[in-house]
């Protein structure tokens, strides 16, 4: 796993294949390994890049602190692409990063050719309804178990009980303070009114059983987009389609890329 130095921050990433660039962005309390069951379907024909956001996986903290703002995440993604000399790239982004990718499409449009927004929204449920009382402060007592139980209840019905717990346990590998930063970024994210400025094609993906970023919320995000957009809802799937149904998600994204012409020259 190589590193890119981005404004003094060591960013870990994997890169394989050749062709039009595709950057995979993980969600809150996770790292790039969430794409393991998907990226193999893209290395034939694409320049596949999987990064760990600062503070996650093997990446260092950004300016020594957990990031807590979607705009900062988007800034880092843009600077990372510039550092690699890559772009414009298609961003395949999950959950919190769905918002990050849409934000990047607004802030650095020259670096983004398309977005696949998986279970993401430009206005989080929390920003819409607010966290009750001081709950977010209380979560600091034990953010790790809060996230484990979040993920456990966010996985749909297609996987076994054992596999669901296994996937939920992954969030324990992220430091508690980084989880809190992610939660703050997710809960404060609200740029719904700006989505008309997103002009690149966007494929939106939602899971029927996702209560955190529900199909309704993804649909409302899709409908506000200014450019061409599509929405697919997976039956029986929760918040993590890339881990729950990778065999369905991969061809869905590839077909989207083919429709918008994000394919190698010889494939056109």
């Amino acid at each position: 796993m190589p590193y890119a130095m981005v404004d003094g921050c060591r960013i870990a990433y994997d890169r394989e294949g050749s062709g039009p660039p595709v950057l995979f962005l993980h969600g809150a309390a996770q790292d790039g390994t969430v794409w393991r069951e998907v990226v193999g379907g893209f290395t034939g024909g694409y320049d596949v890049i999987v990064m760990d956001h600062p503070g996650h996986g093997k990446s260092a903290l950004w300016q020594g602190e957990p990031m807590a703002d979607v705009s900062v995440f988007a800034h880092v993604v843009g600077r990372f692409l510039q550092e690699l000399g890559v772009g414009p790239a298609a961003l395949v982004a999950h959950s919190l990063s769905g918002a990050v990718a849409l934000r990047a499409a607004l802030d650095v449009p020259e670096l983004v050719s398309a977005v696949v927004n998986i279970a993401g929204s430009a206005r989080s449920a929390e920003a819409a309804i607010g966290y009750p009382g001081d709950l977010l402060d209380l979560v600091q007592v034990n953010p790790t178990d809060w996230m484990v139980t979040n993920f456990r209840s966010l996985i749909g019905t297609q996987l076994s009980e054992e596999r669901r717990w296994e996937l939920a346990y992954d969030s324990k590998r992220v430091p508690p303070e980084v989880i809190m930063g992610d939660l703050h970024a997710y809960t404060s994210c609200t740029f719904y009114e700006e989505l008309g400025g997103v002009s690149v094609p966007v494929l939106n993906v939602a899971g029927e059983h996702d209560w955190s970023c529900s199909p309704e919320r993804v649909r409302s995000t899709a409908q506000a987009l200014g450019g061409p957009h599509e929405l697919v809802v997976f039956d029986g799937v929760g918040h993590l389609p890339q881990l729950e149904v990778p065999e369905q998600l991969t061809p869905l994204i590839r077909a989207f890329f083919a429709r918008i012409g994000h394919v190698a020259e010889e494939s056109r």
Binding site: A125, E126, I129, Y131, P132, G133, L135, L138, V139, V141, N142, D145, W146, V148, T149, N150, R152, S153, L154, W165, H209, D210, W211, S212, S214
Partner: protein, 130 residues
């Protein structure tokens, strides 16, 4: 409507939950280091889970006395937690449908334990409906 009427908790609910907890290996792991009373309340009803050396005893209505922590909310919110297709402890609390009671910091510390109780109650509810 079931023979238990509109009640969310009650003696038979307590029996079902106690059986579900006794059969739950993950719950037993979470109770290895916890001893005390967890309380569940609605305006009309109450229940408690007493976690001791010999396992967990569930009773409804709850006994008078102190408790470590718990949750409280209207009957409809409890029904949603126990039977709703997308419901979970996290979603119910995040929406403010259920509020934390007792030592709230302790409840966050023992969040996995509370989660296992809620999930066991969901399984018990589905058994009743089956």
């Amino acid at each position: 409507m079931s023979s238990e009427g509109d009640a969310v908790f009650g003696p038979r609910w307590a029996q079902r939950l106690e059986r579900a907890l006794a059969a739950d290996a993950r719950y037993r792991v979470q109770t290895r280091w916890f001893r005390g009373v967890v309380r569940l309340d609605s305006p009309q009803e109450s229940a408690q889970i007493e976690v001791g050396e010999e396992g967990s005893r569930v009773r409804s209505p709850a006994a008078a006395g102190s408790f470590a922590f718990g949750l409280s909310g209207p009957a409809q919110s409890w029904r949603e937690l126990f039977e709703g297709p997308r419901a979970s402890l996290n979603s119910s609390v995040r929406r403010g449908d259920l509020v934390l009671t007792g030592d709230r910091a302790a409840l966050l510390k023992w969040w996995l334990l509370m989660y296992q109780i809620a999930e066991a109650a969901r399984r018990a509810a589905s058994e009743r409906q089956a």
